[in-house]
Symmetry: C2
Subunit: 298 residues, 2 copies
Amino acid sequence: MGERDLTGRAVADGILAEVAAEVQALGEAHWPPKLVSITVGDESAVDVYVRNQRRTAESVGIAFETRRLPERITQEELRAAIAALNVDPQVSGIILQRPVPKHISIKAMQTTIHPLKDVEGMNPASIGNIVYNELELAPCTALAAVEMLKRTGLQLQGLEAVVIGHSEIVGKPIAFLLLSEGATVTVCHHMTRSLAVHSRRADAVFVAVGKPKLVTGDMIKPGAAVIDIGINEVIDDEGKSRVVGDVDYDSVAPVAGWITPVPGGVGPVTVAVLMRNTVVATRRQKAHYEARLGASTF
Amino acid sequence: MGERDLTGRAVADGILAEVAAEVQALGEAHWPPKLVSITVGDESAVDVYVRNQRRTAESVGIAFETRRLPERITQEELRAAIAALNVDPQVSGIILQRPVPKHISIKAMQTTIHPLKDVEGMNPASIGNIVYNELELAPCTALAAVEMLKRTGLQLQGLEAVVIGHSEIVGKPIAFLLLSEGATVTVCHHMTRSLAVHSRRADAVFVAVGKPKLVTGDMIKPGAAVIDIGINEVIDDEGKSRVVGDVDYDSVAPVAGWITPVPGGVGPVTVAVLMRNTVVATRRQKAHYEARLGASTF
């Protein structure tokens, strides 16, 4: 770890401490938060993520239930399963683990998750709300990445930010979040003519592409903040499997003012934000029911 | 009009000719498109727009009905009025004219309009769908502005585009639309430190701020496309009221490769796009009903 490292563990712990206090208060108000995780078919690819989510949830007092659905489930059956969770007042948040089998449209299923229970922030309606500057329930990775930038203490208003990667659930939401904070934002991607021209003028660079060593030291302005959201499995010189980001750490670290390592940077914060989203969702559901029923009776 | 002018009338007429053919086909399939325009309270500010929408709708065979609601209507009453239109199979699209009285939340009302009937593309769910690259039902002005850029024949993939203005219904949707077309996009606004540095490197500049003469010739790269979305009423030297855009036409026109005049640029195309959105919405509703009822019986 270098001295310019912007590590995630302390940030995550700070978020989780706040979440734990809120979970306790919600429990005392008879609204204990509860997450339901759905996996469809082979879950070996997501197993480590799900276990991490469960451990984190339970550490702050959030109940965590897993539903394992068979590979051969039809889209309509999955839709019905989600609809049942939507109307279950005991369920605060629904996580649909990716990937899902090819015969199921992930977008259609994300749209089925009620926006009030969309703790991953992936329903188009949730994404649209970010565009309208309602920033609380955004995709977890995007929120975590922006949270890391805030920890640098840089003033976000007027900041020149460059986002590399234009995915719906990471790159674009980071761009809206930064815009809402007053940054000037450029979104680059594989069709960008000269990536380095953009990255070199940026005060903050976010990278979410999935290409090891895409960003090198000569592409970064001295003193800039570099937030690495890539997660890539590579085989190192000794034949061992390692996880690396999209940033060439060795060449960027001496140039950057701040850099998030991979692993140990944005990752732990993402899971903490998922828990915070769960508390936000639970609070909204409580408010929603109370506005209609006049009291908290669940 | 200069030779570099990118005028909207011909573009609008081309769109409207296609729309008229589709309206006829939908009518023959017993799905005649119909728009309902809602104004609340004093309508003098929107009167000219509504008349223009009606004239354009009727010119392509789309029925146009106006509902004038009183200033004192409550938000719940307005919500109920919109809900009734949502479930009326004869209504294809709902336009909520702005401004609305202060006691009504425009965002809450736009969220009430069913996404299938959201011809203005302003429901957060509609906006979220653009983020997910479903571009058909986007806010009309944003679609019209991008349509104008396409008429230049410039290749959008890899194009360097700068959007000045970050409003939810114009600036940000233009940014997503351009991103979906493969452009590299920078969004600037009143907090941007050096606007000219960005605008001067752009192949295409979109301006949607509402400030006359914000963009001057020295801010534009020679040969760039300049799309002016501003609509400002100013009093000229002779004391007469005139409508101007956000671009200083006289200094920009000699530098730009293309420039949209105001009036007569993006404006006419916006209304044409509203009609195209109405046809898109009607087709979707037809598909939606038929998928559930097995036939077209309305």
